[in-house]
Symmetry: C2
Subunit: 406 residues, 2 copies
């Protein structure tokens, strides 16, 4: 019938039984008359174990070697899965990222895909092989293995789907699809049938773990329809595709939250031109992903400049800024990390004006104090204390009608 790209995450491949389950699923898809390319992550906690081994050997493992090391995880799962499929009587072949033609830039540990040279993939498809590809990895111009960052296998899958012009890209995971908010926090969260690329992108960036945001970006650029679903049942999941306004579920599609947020505040910054550029110039050298920035005017030509980033990056940022603080005559750099970011996302927001005030009232009603605010076209994010996060998500889910009606 068609050419289907599937991606199976680490929890779907955690042990022998699960590998056999995935193999059966792939064989089913093949026997339904499709050609199949399956992209795999490393088994269960393999990647974490490898990272642990590296840290025991070296405090700051060099990134090139770390990429080499981590890339073995997917190569183990791909060969075992290919064996399982062959044992079920279908032709299968495993390919590493480089063999599958995934060419990346040179940034070890967070390389970006430049191109998929799909010759080998096409040859193996012509020979009627089911192809198993190691996700999360590619090769740079020096023929060295690179990795695409956590969750990179999603991006591998979408890139391959685009390169071979697949009819469908299915992302198999351990949940049933994309929910309006995290079902672990809000048990009555609604499963979304359809989400637009833009909404999914914001949800992913703002903390929904179900897809890596770069994979969504790529899917949007190449118009790849992505079906997010569970590898443990046959339920339909969530389709991520182009926005068509008739499909809006409501004004707000979903709520994301993220506990990996720290606030870095530089106190007593002299109010002179170029100072902010000096501060953020230093941060950008570290390749830190800044989320929100707030500058608050203070007395006596002094400002406080605050920004948020991930907790790991906050420590790096602080170390780098200690020097700058002295240089520019600021007072100090302080990190706060018992925080969470709660965001509402919805394309409908563009045509409704009272969303922000409804959000802030709902939070106030739930006794949640707001520390920082940022907005974009289709999102509003607030920083709150981490132990108020659950209350905040629940209040917003109720306010914006994101609960299952049962």
């Amino acid at each position: 019938m068609g050419l289907i790209v599937q991606k199976y995450g680490g929890s779907s491949l955690a042990d022998k039984e699960r590998i056999l389950n995935v193999a059966r699923r792939i064989v089913e898809t093949k026997r339904d008359g499709n050609k199949v390319i399956a992209i795999v992550s490393a088994m269960g906690k393999t990647t974490d174990k490898l990272i642990q081994m590296a840290r025991e050997i070296s405090e700051v493992p060099p990134k090139r070697e770390m990429d080499r090391l981590l890339s073995t995880g997917e190569q183990i799962s791909m060969s075992l899965l290919a064996m399982a499929i062959q044992a079920m009587g279908e032709k299968a072949i495993s390919l590493s990222g480089p063999q599958a033609g995934i060419m990346t830039d040179a940034y070890h540990s967070k390389a970006r895909i430049k191109n998929v040279a799909a010759d080998r993939l096409k040859k193996e498809l012509e020979e009627d092989n089911i192809i198993i590809v190691a996700g999360f990895q590619g090769e740079n111009a020096d023929y060295d293995i690179t990795t695409l960052g956590r969750g990179g296998s999603d991006t591998s899958a979408v890139a391959i789907a685009a390169a071979v012009d697949a009819d469908l890209c299915e992302i198999f995971t351990d949940v049933d699809g994309v929910y309006s908010c995290d079902p672990r926090i809000v048990p009555k969260a609604k499963k979304l049938k359809v989400v637009s690329y833009d909404e999914m992108l914001e949800l992913a960036i703002l903390g929904a773990k179900v897809l890596q945001h770069r994979s969504v970006e790529l899917a949007k650029t190449h118009k790849v329809a992505v079906h997010v679903r569970s590898s443990f049942n046959h339920n339909l999941g969530t389709v991520v595709k182009e926005d068509t306004s008739m499909e809006h579920n409501g004004i707000i599609t979903g709520i994301a939250h993220d506990f990996n947020v720290a606030k870095v505040v530089v106190f007593g910054v002299p109010d002179k031109p170029g100072i902010a550029a000096r501060i953020f110039g230093e941060i950008s050298k570290l390749d830190i992903n800044i989320q929100m920035i707030v500058q608050s005017a203070q007395t006596e030509n002094m400002n406080d400049i605050a920004f948020t980033c991930s907790i790991e990056e906050a420590k790096e940022a602080q170390d780098a800024l200690e020097k700058v603080v002295k240089e520019i005559g600021a007072r100090s750099v302080v990190i706060t990390d018992n925080l969470a970011k709660v965001s509402i996302v919805g394309a409908g927001m563009m045509t409704h004006t009272n969303i922000a005030s409804r959000m802030f009232s709902a939070l106030a009603g739930a006794g949640v104090n707001i520390d920082m605010i940022s907005t974009s076209e289709i999102t509003i994010s607030v920083i709150v204390e981490s132990d108020k996060c659950q209350d905040a998500v629940q209040a917003l889910a109720k306010e914006f009608d994101l609960l299952e009606n049962k």
Copy 2:
């Protein structure tokens, strides 16, 4: 001072402490003014664990996928070792077999090296990098990973030493060198200072586990001097190099033994031309390594044909021969496997004529019955019952003066 190729086996890299130990050893060699290329095996029992995983997934794992799977073991140890060396302040880079330019034929699971394209190795040496190379693996013409068979890392090391014209090839292992016989069976076994390529080759083929025989073959062809020594101390080990008759230690250099021996007997084979060819033609299709062949004349134009091979291969051979037996009108095929092969090896044998009789007398004196015999220019091997193996080796060590004089 020079360019040194070192090889570290799995037991030398079994855990974090041992990896750090090897890293220190390599760094020492570098700081003594040498350029270093180190070839590594997989950590400890990694390969066995991967094989176990594969067998749980598939009864007969396909060899291409098995090679892919097993090749990850060396890639893990090489990256961890490169990290450890960098943490000690020296430049280091890890390269997989394909990256190091190890080109092989297409025979998965026992590929042979065709060529080492050493450009990348030379480039990294010029940049003053210590190079860590994954042993045991290469790449075939289809850009697929192949493995070189058990112990293949020794062969990787010698091939690389030849390709870069190294001044020395050191094989680090968990024993102090090559012994006249197995010290676990004969505690007073003598450590050999020098062994010729031919003697080492025979010892390796006949069961001495310390070097893969193909590595010795390769060393002989390319005249690479190989120093076998322990990674746990700084003692001098055994140098394997070209034979110069002045260096003979005695008539017999060493004794090898091997418990992985089975005898396959085809009973009642009609004595007609072409029958032996039919039998061994069938066996050769299976790529089974035949060791000895004995044909004994019987009554009524019938022979028994017996041969030895490894225990795993004997079962395969039997299955294949059942069909042939019917076809040629022979009686039956029977396997015996409680056997051991004991061999004496020595270049001095060529100029002495009474070695065989001394060997058989010594065995008779120790109450050891001989089942089969085979000889070559510098070896005599006998098949004995496995529980007589130790007695046989001890008697021969005494007869041929292979014990330490202390």
